[in-house]
């Protein structure tokens, strides 16, 4: 299997730790995907952080008298059917999206990476069981898990976070186990074993640092998938619940007003697309920067 971080491994083989490539930032700032993706992702992150301290209007306050106002100096993108300011809703929506994304990807990484590393370290039955369990989890896309959870526990942010988190695990298990297996076959791991280090210590000291670059790239892509899944679940009414603003919910509300205020359906969708596009481009950029060989092949 190709290891998209082999460049850093080659450099770090002697010390068994990947070194930061020389002039990483210099190369990164010249990489188009990285720069565009990074800028878009920072914009979304900035919007979420800004909403913690400031929004033009309250995103929770209902003012029916000023409902469905067109864009103006007071309301830059207008107001929704309950008179709430669209810009404020988008800013707070970014926060909901990022929060769900971080926790769900966190769950995926915690379980996925641990199980992947365990499978590669223990081999045999442990590996077989972990991989079959991971195959089995593939049968449940996030929407299916969310439907099951919502049917018994009711819809909400916890339901969507759990469903998206579970959905992330098998991909990360497979990726971690594949990359970790490649590292376990390297000479420096053999040397570490010969020096008497145990499986756990080798995993923490040698395997994990070497699979980290590829995990960082994948986490970026998983984050984008989590944002898409969160938006879909909120749109369906299974995820974030009112009055907490979310981009998916805004789209659902806007759909009933397509004939009156079509632009209400454009803004939240564009926000989702910008966030996902940014993360995908950032992931592409990171992959190219961490493994120049892959960049040449693409």
């Amino acid at each position: 299997m190709s290891t998209p971080m082999s460049a850093s491994i080659e450099v770090g083989a002697a010390t068994a730790r990947p070194q930061a490539p020389t002039g990483f930032w210099r190369r990164a700032l010249r990489h188009r995907s990285f720069v565009i993706g990074g800028t878009l992702s920072l914009m979304v992150l900035g919007a979420a952080l800004l909403s913690l301290v400031w929004t033009p209007w309250s995103a929770y306050e209902i003012d029916v008298a000023s409902k469905l106002r067109p864009p103006s100096a007071a309301h830059w993108l207008g107001t929704d059917v309950l008179g709430r300011d669209i810009v404020s809703l988008l800013l707070v929506g970014a926060r909901s999206t990022i929060m769900v994304g971080i926790i769900a990807v966190g769950i995926g990484i915690t379980f996925g990476v641990s199980l992947g590393l365990l499978a590669a370290a223990r081999k045999g039955w442990t590996e077989e069981i972990i991989m079959r369990m991971s195959d089995f989890t593939f049968a449940f896309p996030a929407v299916l898990s969310a439907i099951m959870l919502a049917a018994v526990a009711g819809p909400g942010m916890v339901t969507s976070i759990t469903a998206i988190g579970i959905f992330q695990i098998p991909t990360l298990v497979r990726l971690t186990r594949g990359s970790a297996n490649a590292i376990w076959a390297r000479e420096f791991v053999l040397a570490a074993r010969a020096s008497g280090k145990g499986g756990f210590r080798i995993t923490i000291e040698h395997v994990l640092p070497n699979v980290l670059p590829i995990l960082i790239v994948q986490a970026t892509i998983q984050f984008a998938l989590a944002i898409l899944a969160e938006a879909a679940l909120s749109y369906l009414g299974l995820g974030t619940q009112p009055p907490q603003p979310s981009w998916g919910r805004m789209l659902n509300d806007a759909q009933t007003l397509l004939f009156q205020s079509p632009m209400l359906a454009v803004y939240p969708g564009a926000a989702i697309a910008i966030a996902v596009l940014g993360l995908n481009l950032l992931g592409d950029g990171l992959r190219d920067l961490l493994d120049p060989r892959l960049a040449r092949e693409r």
């Binding site: 896309p141 898409l228 879909a232 397509l258 596009l277």
Partner: protein, 337 residues
Amino acid sequence: MRLPLHLIANKRLAANRGIRDLSVFIFRRFLTLIATLLGASLIIFLVLDALPGNAAQMLMGADASPDAVRALTIKLGLDQPLYYRYVHWIMGLLTGDLGNSYVYGTPVAGLIAERLTLTIPLAIMSMSMTVVLALSAGIYTAANHNKLGDVGVMSLTQFGIALPNFWFAILLILLFSVKLQWLSAGGFAGWDESILAGIKSLLLPAISLSVVQAAILARVTRSAVLEVLREDFVRTARAKGLSKRDVLWRHVLRNAMIPVMTIMGLQFANLLAGTIVIENVFYLPGLGRLIFQSIANRDLIVVRNCVMLLAGVVVIVNFVVDVLYAFIDPRIKVHNL
């Protein structure tokens, strides 16, 4: 040239061993399939039958009298032990008897079959559109590698991957229903009136499902074709005088289809999940809508069977892809799969 006898014997032995390996692989993969289906059914049963407690209580609400709840519990067969209910359900799945809906009292199998007359054509339409769009874009971009067309189409696919399909669906409604008023914004005309009217109702949903999937598949097709174009046999074919076009259509595509097919199989799960969402955008009375209505009605037996059907389809499609993969590419060592 005739091969010496011992070499012919060796080749036959190798071929026999290959067939035996393949049979062992299919058998092992089949056992995994059964185990996965059983595991999935167990999880679905535990989550949707055991975990919620008494479905009769949920149906009747907190204010219902204990006698009424008890009567409904017995009527629905919920007084039976868990393992009995699980085995009964599995036997029912095998014989097509999925029980009766708690709410409508009609057979669940009939309800699902009725909704599938919409969901299956929708899935087929969107998968066909995905394949046509993705293969044309993928082959075009690979044949024009690094030219303006390649860069343009690849940038479009980058946008396509980032689009939430339900937002794209709403944009299509805005354009074709609100602005141009060519197609209806939702609902299903049915197949009874005319097949054309049915297809027309599914056109926008199928397009919104396929564009995002096609964007991913187009990128995979492009990479796969480019990879094969770099192979030695392609250079040999060109050296023998075959035109670039002939090499692409006769040799490259056949070999590039292996990864493309794998991704298509994996995309099927996304397609099904997408169908659930898109049916809700267009108010289509398919399986997705049935699931949501059943959640709202607390009709857990319908939810359980629908989820099992969808999870089962995903698992079976993955199995078929794995087996086809082993058949198509003789270089694959089956024991490594």
